[in-house]
Symmetry: C3
Subunit: 267 residues, 3 copies
């Protein structure tokens, strides 16, 4: 099947199953992530307390961990939720926001990768690079000039999991296949949490198929396609942010024919 | 007086008195709740620290407690604020977000109901049902097929307070009168925090009249009327969310003639 | 040079240097502040954990502290970040949200002023007044009838730093010069966090020039000018909020010719 049809199929599965997406995420993007999840037809739940993190994860269909405004207590909740998710075989997506900017973020991300059966790791090339010893980050933005494909491959080999490095072209490095996703818009860089929302999207799509790398590529492409549509007419960031949710919700009626994924088997 | 006129009267009282609405709420909806409060002409204040919760509640005109992203420290703050509010006779509104999904949420909501003089309890039928031993919840969404009217009545009898179960039709069970509120829009289910904003609205309207059940019905109907207007033309969720605030702020000029409440005395 | 040209110059410097603005702010406004920072062409980073606050501040170009939803742990993080910023000579902007409403807020703001080399203090006349023994506050809103100019001057003399008291006219009291900023819109009072965003703007502009009072006046005027443009046609608060970000991002193309600052040397 072609990628646009596969993306459509995943969207339909999400709409039919209304998966519960447990998100332990940062305070900057929590509202946007919840609204994005609803726009995809899935159900968000934000539950951060150690007292309930494992119980909530165990009734969910995916777990999204995001270290954007991390605290010690949140790490404890992530470990509890992640272990429960692992026991149930639920996919876990990790977004190491700002890894490389401070030792606390880098070390916390590495600890989560070590102690939990993470399914997909997503970040910009600076963040992912920092986890494999390269990468330059200022705050939560990638700087430097690493090749995103090399960064993704190095992280995949280091951690043995699917790794998505997002940017102008998103690179998804799976165990056998690497996907290049050409959807998206420069306007995404003008709003906060656009990367975090990409990570939430991966969590949603991970519930709709069994191949993590393929589902990650389909999710990023579909989200990027909605962003392209929202960017038409070059709106300002406040308008773009509202339209992005509109266009995600409109994917069912507007279709996925613009999904642009290029497969690239390792040579 | 007819309900639309009563709703108008409450709006006018809020605009004249600018009540301070102290909200201890979840991180997902805090911005939306604050903006909604301003749109109604009231003043929001979010104060979560145990060191100040009681002092802030004591200078407020209503206290809104929402357990959507609860922590141990937040429960402590809620108990302190609630006791101060009770001592001053200030109405307290409780939103047991996600009760039934985890034991921590169910037990925390029951503890707040037991230890504080809650005035109005508002949730969906799953959440309220969970507090009286029925109810099905996935994350923070109601599933199952309970009759919302039976759930509201059971909770009213169990806790001896006004209970609002919101959904396609909102049911407000007071001690003597039950109100059915027919305002609202299916689009509300497409944005996060629409229930939490309904709860904040109840807190605002509770400052404008002495009958908790009537004020709750008026608040839900007025909020639902603004949602109906915001839903015209079937916008996407990002646009609807912005318009909802616009329409709440426009209630003074647009009026309340669409308020649709049906009274139903117990037989 | 005239003020509009100076404002333009600061905007251009920000766009060229992309300063990292470390913000320890409240949960109500964190998303809006981050989006505003991006709209100005700067990079936001929200980092609240004591484990990383100093490290993040040390790589930033400005530090913005906002006590809107303060906790004990956040005070600890602010002190660590503030000391690191002071060691590096990075400007620190303090927003004492709700000072005067509770003892915890007033005392925490005073402690930060005492222990950290704050560069600019910004609040409404109630909040700033409370820090110098006058001022009336309800929640986070100024009431009472103090003259904002007297409040600003008193606080400048008490703390020996630049003080901005924002309102219908913003007053910026520097060591030698007082600026009156006549930009802005009444619609700003209809959205939450408009004051917090003004504070973030000051942090951004503080990276683009060495005179704190002048940079504060330029920042407030530029932000107010964007608000004036966003207010055209008198939109509701939900639409205004989105347009405000749009207009900030459009400042580069639309220009700063409406910047309206009046200098007033002490007589």
């Amino acid at each position: 099947m072609e990628y646009p049809a596969l993306a459509r199929e995943s969207l339909d599965r999400v709409a039919a199953s209304k998966p519960l997406i447990h998100q332990i995420t940062n305070v900057v993007v929590t509202n946007d992530s919840a609204n994005l999840t609803l726009a995809f037809g899935a159900l968000p739940v934000m539950a951060y307390a150690p007292q309930e993190a494992a119980e909530m994860a165990a009734i969910s269909q995916a777990l999204v961990l995001n270290i954007g405004t991390l605290s010690e207590e949140e790490i404890a909740a992530m470990l509890l939720a992640g272990k429960a998710a692992g026991d149930k075989g639920i996919p876990i997506i990790l977004d190491p926001v700002g890894a490389g900017a401070t030792a606390f973020r880098t070390e916390s991300a590495l600890r989560l990768l070590r102690e939990l059966p993470i399914t997909v790791l997503r970040g910009n090339r600076g963040e992912i690079g920092a986890l494999v010893g390269s990468g330059e980050v200022r705050g939560v933005e990638a700087t430097g000039s690493e090749d995103p494909r090399e960064v993704a491959t190095a992280a995949r080999d280091a951690f043995g999991i699917t790794v998505a490095v997002t940017g102008a072209t998103d690179v998804v490095a799976g165990q056998e296949t690497t996907y290049l996703v050409n959807n998206g818009s420069p306007l995404l860089a003008g709003i906060t949490g656009s990367g975090c929302m990409a990570t939430a999207t991966i969590g949603i799509f991970a519930t709709a198929g069994s191949d993590p790398a393929l589902q990650t590529a389909l999710g990023l492409a579909t989200y990027g396609l909605a962003a392209e549509r929202a960017a038409q007419g070059d709106p300002g960031p406040g308008t773009f942010r509202a339209r992005l949710l509109d266009e995600v919700a409109a994917l069912h009626s507007e279709g996925t024919s613009g999904v642009n994924i290029v497969e690239s088997r390792e040579s």
